[in-house]
């Protein structure tokens, strides 16, 4: 069952009024709206001023005549001055708030052709802000066919307007392309993410958090968000970036928030600090998790209130900037460990975007390879291309699980820089690609070496420090204990080679004695954490 149509409208003291005996010859917006044979309003909510009672009655009777199934509901309104914006808005807003909207069963239209311009603007605002859950309807006279006129329904959800929507969609696409540096990425999740960021970048000045492992392009993205905002006239100041891992101690405070002359030893001159440099612009704090707790507190105040205290200053300084924070750490874990302020995380977590590592975007490797080669050409003026076979080999490897892309785009960029630089005659050949693959593998393998730095293996159960020689051995023994269901099974695993050479062996006993040397038994070994 279709919803009932309900039309709200102000009685138009001028347009709806007409000499009584000539009124059917004239276009009266409120009455004409009910003469259309393709609208079937169940109810008219007629807002009229008390002194217009007689006109309201005539209009109501004429509406019933042309539309016998339409009920007319009179709602009195009282404007002392119908041109007083604040008063008209308040009165109409009160009507909207008091009205029992039944959106499940009724479809609302607000007729904005009658009333003062002020009233029309107020109705528009009330609809636009959804305080009245309606669409607008606008009517206009038509010279032919008497009093009926035309009408058109305007839905302020602009996405419904094809022409406008196409325009916005094109701008949106341009924005997204821009964020992606023009790279035709294929990864659906990544593309969705860029679309969302494009959306947020155009509208929000709230902090944005970019999370993701090193080398996924957080800094480039932050810079592009800034450029996009500039194109959209959404930002005026400059782009200021700093990696928080490079800020330590007093230096951190002074760098970020500035200092007065003589604030500390060596402070020979006053300095504004990065926050003030970013005033009206965008501040990108990479590795925000590396920031000290004092700096975090000051930063929070700066984000929330736009003020902070430079080192050695008596009066707070002011700066309004949009913050983009980057992190490759799990800030929630840092909050739990007491290393990061919960309130700051809550504030910067409003728009949080996790950038996927390259290994999860393998379909995007090829477009990025093209992009890197184009960039190489732009930087060096030397055009480099892949031989077909070489290209296939490289892409196959790059998309395979063997390519872990530990440092993500940094790895990919480095690989292509090497390939492009070494390419004989600007042609990347198959042997060159094989060589590069080996180099990548080796580099990753070096970083994949088992690392024995776990605290439980660096000291034994009694807290005695261990030689590195013993620590490595013990760590592996403990791991096998944890992975085995019994002491005997662990023993069999640990002594798998030597036991085959013996007529009889008691691997369990051998293991028990080994553990005892470090003050451990099988149960405590199993319970040890890495």
């Amino acid at each position: 069952m279709a919803k009932r149509t309900v039309i709200f409208g102000l009685l138009g003291s001028r347009l709806d009024g007409a000499a009584h005996d000539r009124r059917w010859d004239q276009w009266r917006p409120t009455v004409s709206l009910f003469q259309h044979d393709d609208l079937e309003p169940a109810r008219l909510v007629l807002l009229s001023q008390t002194q217009e009672g007689r006109l309201a009655e005539i209009v109501a009777a004429d509406v019933r005549s042309v539309s016998p199934n339409t009920a007319v509901e009179h709602v009195p309104v009282r404007f002392k001055d119908p041109w007083d914006f604040a008063e008209v808005f308040r009165v109409l807003d009160d009507v909207a708030r008091a009205y029992p909207f039944d959106r499940d069963n009724e479809d609302y239209l607000v007729h904005i052709t009658t009333g003062t311009h002020v009233a029309q603007i107020c109705l528009f605002l009330l609809v636009e802000t959804r305080r009245i859950p309606a669409r607008l309807v606008q009517s206009s006279p038509r010279s032919t066919r008497g009093s009926q006129g035309n009408y058109s329904i305007i839905d302020l959800d602009l996405s419904r307007y094809d022409a406008l929507a196409a325009r916005f969609a094109a701008e949106h696409r341009e924005g997204v392309d821009f964020l992606k540096a023009g790279i035709a990425t294929q990864n659906a999740a990544f593309n969705r993410l860029m679309e969302r960021i494009e959306h947020v970048a155009g509208r929000s000045t709230d902090p944005i958090l970019l999370a993701g492992p090193t080398g996924v392009g957080k800094t480039q993205l932050a810079r592009r968000i800034f450029e996009l905002k500039r194109r959209l006239h959404a930002v005026e100041g400059s782009f200021v970036e700093v990696n928080c891992a490079t800020l330590r101690g007093d230096h951190a405070m002074a760098t970020l928030f500035g200092h007065e002359r003589g604030a500390f030893t060596g402070a020979t001159a006053r300095r504004d600090g990065l926050l003030r440099a970013a005033d009206g612009g965008l501040l990108f704090l990479d590795e925000i998790g590396e920031l000290g707790l004092d700096e975090q507190a000051m930063l929070l105040r700066a984000i929330e209130e736009g003020v902070f205290l430079p080192l050695g200053a008596d009066k707070p300084a002011k700066s309004r900037f949009q913050l983009i924070a980057g992190t490759n750490r799990d800030l929630a874990a840092d909050v739990r460990a007491g290393r990061f302020r919960e309130d700051l995380l809550a504030r910067i977590d409003l728009w949080s975007f996790a950038l996927p590592p390259l290994a999860e975007r393998r379909e995007d490797i090829e477009p990025n390879v093209e992009h890197e080669l184009a960039r190489h050409f732009a930087q060096t003026g030397r055009r480099v291309t892949f031989a077909a076979e070489a290209r296939a080999r490289f892409l196959t490897f790059a998309a395979s699980p063997a390519a872990v892309w530990r440092a993500n785009f940094r790895d990919l960029g480095a690989a292509l820089t090497r390939l492009a630089t070494l390419a004989p005659g600007g042609r990347i050949t198959a042997p060159l690609v094989e060589e590069e693959i080996e180099r990548l593998r080796a580099g990753w393998a070096r970083l994949e070496q088992p690392r024995v730095d776990s605290p439980s293996a660096a000291t034994d159960a009694r807290g005695e420090p261990l030689d590195r020689f013993d620590a490595v051995q013990l760590a592996d023994v403990l791991r096998v204990c944890r992975e085995s269901r019994s002491l005997s099974e662990a023993g069999r695993t640990l002594f798998a080679v030597s036991r085959t050479k013996k007529a009889s062996s008691n691997d369990a006993d051998r293991l028990r004695k080994y553990l005892a040397r470090f003050g451990l038994d099988y149960e405590s070994a199993r319970a040890s954490d890495s």
Partner: protein, 345 residues
Amino acid sequence: MQPVEIDGRAGEGGGQVLRTSLALAVALGVPVRVANVRAGRPKSGLLRQHLTGVRAAAVICGGDVRGAELHSTTVELWPGSVRGGHYRFAVGSAGSAALVLQTVLVPLLLAPEPSTLEIEGGTHNSMAPTFDFLEQSFLPQLRKLGASVELELRRPGFYPAGGGCIAARIEPCRAPRPLQLDQRGAPGRGRALIHLAHLPPSIAEREWRAIQRVVHWPSDRCEVVEHTSAAGPGNTVSLVLPFEHITAVFTGFGERRRASESVGHTVARAAARFQAQTAPVCEHLADQLLLPLALLAGGSFTTVEPTLHTRTNIDTIHRFLPGRIELLPADPGSAVFTVRGRQGG
């Protein structure tokens, strides 16, 4: 039962196909699906006046409808059995009350109980039968078929204000009789019937003088009815031409910016054309008679050359009752309809 499929684009493709289909479905108790309702029109699909007709058809038989919404282009009606009683329907935007009556009248003749109807809307619309036509021309023929129907103009409704009301009393037609109408019979005294609401009397005088210049009737043949109860202004001119076996009614409509002389002259010319012919049934009456004949006891009548409107009507009836209507050319410019009715005769 599979619904009868009707293509709303057939023939002239207006609301008539829909109304005829609904009336037949209700009267015969067979489901109907009308697709492409008003396809290709500027405002396609169901408009308010059509919706009123669809709902009215469903109400009098307790039927189920699908697609009874504005702009819907497919309507299905699964009828129950027709019941008499008191019904009230209202057409918005000054749409025609007569067209709603046309949808429910014949089915209600087949109901076991009598009915009283009140239909609000336009009563004198230019694109539909006027009340005067229904009362003077159509009702007498309907009574010959054995139907007992009374119509009353409670209040006239003109475009654009609407607000008129037609009341009807319909008795079940228990003994339908076939119609034989091949001659007009002896002519009676023609007269003009002018309706005037909220407009100066000079309009009626100018119209009447223009009529007189064509038909040369004496001045006592003009009747002016002034309606103070009408919601808005309006004016129609009907020329009533009574004959022994038939009464023909031709109507002109006063409009803004149209000279009253032109209104009078045009309707008088139409009446004069009819007088110059011999076929008893004008094209408007032929349209109205086909449905009751097909659903009651049938019969035959001689009419002027059938219009596209009439042919569309025949095609629609044949979708429900194949081969019932036969059309034979008669004298030049006229034709004889023979309709095999469902009952008696």
